[in-house]
């Protein structure tokens, strides 16, 4: 039948479209981004001190923590965050987070780029407050 060709062509186009992720990545290694910890952060990790929350929680929830921090500081003028282990932190992206994670490009950006996330932190904050 004459329309069989058209149907097969249509079907082929459809399959090409839906297998897009398979062929677009052809021959690529799909390694997860390797995050480089800045020396201070590395030291905290090595010493077992860790971040403000356990690693898994930080990976999934850090954006929400930052949001809450901003809210507390800007709306409620509360600057002290008590971590899970009772340790107190100054709620500040520039002064606390970036103090350890001073390498935005190799730390923040790698994951964000990988997951196609564009946080608006940097609309206001500069990524290198200490000017290093």
């Amino acid at each position: 039948m004459s329309d069989k060709k058209i149907i097969i062509a249509g079907l082929a186009i459809f399959f090409v479209l839906i297998t897009f992720p398979f062929w677009i990545n052809m021959g690529k290694a799909a390694n997860a981004p390797e995050l480089i910890l800045a020396p201070t952060a590395q030291a905290a990790m090595d010493s077992g001190e860790g971040c403000v929350l356990p690693l898994d929680e930080m990976r999934a929830n850090h954006m929400q923590i930052l949001d809450l921090w901003r809210h507390s500081v800007v709306r409620n003028a509360e600057r002290i965050y008590v971590g899970a282990d009772g340790k107190e932190y100054n709620m500040s992206l520039s002064n606390t987070c970036l103090d350890c994670h001073s390498n935005k490009a190799d730390f923040c950006d790698r994951c964000h780029n990988y997951a196609s996330v564009t946080p608006y932190c940097w609309d206001c904050h500069i990524d290198n407050p200490k000017g290093e």
Binding site: M1, I7, I18, F22, A30, A32, D56, R59
Partner: protein
């Protein structure tokens, strides 16, 4: 209580717990994260291919276009080229409007009968809106998930994400915190539309009457997909990098379960998607392909102008003129009707 949707609902609930709890068993993440997704994709592709080719194998003996407008006839009568197409190009326009805008559904009306009896017709546009919202939200949701399947993420996908999260919505209380990461409107529209489509099956008596378990099941499944997705993104949070690592492993054929853990909700989400993919070719969801093959829409209404060929056209027994004349010759002659053969030429015996 209606067994049809209860069974469907329970089936989806069971799927959720199967994955949610299942991944806690060592070794099973490989099943849920690698084996089932591959199996689902294979079933989907082979299944859809088979189904479409099954339709393609059936003949199209007649051009049975449903004409929904003025035909092409006299030059001074304006033809409705889209609803009664007479050329291939116009058919393509008609099909595009049908596929992209659900044109036929847009015609929908609702009837009411009052005392008298008196019929009135009412605008019924909600099914059209709901269907459009549902399908387009689903499409956008699928497309923006490509960020998890591509590295680097193509510009168009990132653009779509930007558009989808255009409305910055942040709700920040001690109890509820929504808004980070940025809210994708498509997910919520998808969930809302699916719920609407479910509720109309539940509350419109006629639609409830015709609904099968097979109508509820995919709706619950899609609600489940949307719900787990939303829940993961805005509430329970998930390690997106790890999710992407898993997804990228699958599409680069180097599958592995990431070291950093991914929540059970993620696996439930994934299982729902796998079940939907595998279920697709065997269900009414094939309307996605079927609409392209619907002979009342995809053929031009120009049968009087261009002959359509029936591949299995076979000769039939026809009562011929000769047989007819033999039957009625005397009477025809008596009535002064012309005949081909004169009575003398025919067999001598009397006709009735």
């Amino acid at each position: 209580m209606n067994a049809k949707y209860m069974y469907s609902f329970l089936a989806v609930l069971a799927l959720f717990f199967l994955a949610y709890l299942g991944v806690r068993v060592p070794g099973l993440p490989v099943v849920f994260g690698i084996l089932l997704p591959y199996a689902a994709v294979i079933i989907f592709i082979i299944g859809v291919g088979n189904r479409i080719m099954g339709w393609a194998r059936s003949a199209v003996p007649f051009r049975i276009t449903t004409t929904c407008g003025q035909q092409k006839s006299l030059s001074w009568i304006e033809q409705n080229k889209i609803d009664n197409p007479s050329s291939k190009g116009a058919v393509i326009v008609r099909m595009l409007l049908e596929v992209l805008c659900f044109r036929s559904l847009f015609r929908n009306t609702r009837i009411k009968m009052k005392e008298g009896p008196k019929l009135t017709y009412h605008l019924e546009i909600f099914l059209w809106i709901g269907a459009l919202a549902f399908h387009y939200a689903f499409l956008v949701t699928i497309l923006r998930h490509l960020r998890l399947f591509t590295e680097p993420v193509p510009y168009l996908i990132r653009l779509l994400e930007t558009v989808d999260s255009f409305f910055r919505l942040e709700i920040l209380y001690d109890v509820v915190q929504i808004g980070l990461p940025g809210v994708f409107i498509s997910g919520f529209v998808l969930l809302a539309a699916a719920v609407y489509l479910f509720l109309r099956r539940l509350f419109i008596p006629q639609v409830k009457y015709i609904s099968l378990a097979a109508d509820y099941f995919p709706l619950f499944l899609i609600m489940g997909i949307a719900f787990t997705g939303i829940f993961m993104r805005y509430f329970s949070k998930v390690n997106v990098a790890a999710a992407k690592e898993l997804a990228m492993g699958l599409v680069t054929f180097s599958p592995h379960i990431p070291e950093s853990s991914i929540s059970g909700v993620f696996y439930a989400h994934l299982l729902f998607v796998c079940v939907l993919l595998a279920y697709f070719p065997f269900s009414k969801l094939m309307h996605m392909g079927g609409i392209f093959l619907s002979p009342t829409r995809n053929l031009p209404g120009n049968t009087r102008e261009v002959r359509h060929i029936n591949p299995w056209n076979y000769p039939v027994k026809v009562h011929s003129y000769e047989a007819y004349e033999d039957d009625f010759r005397e009477k025809m002659i008596e009535a002064g009707l012309p005949v081909v053969k004169q009575p003398a030429e025919t067999a001598p015996e009397e006709k009735e």
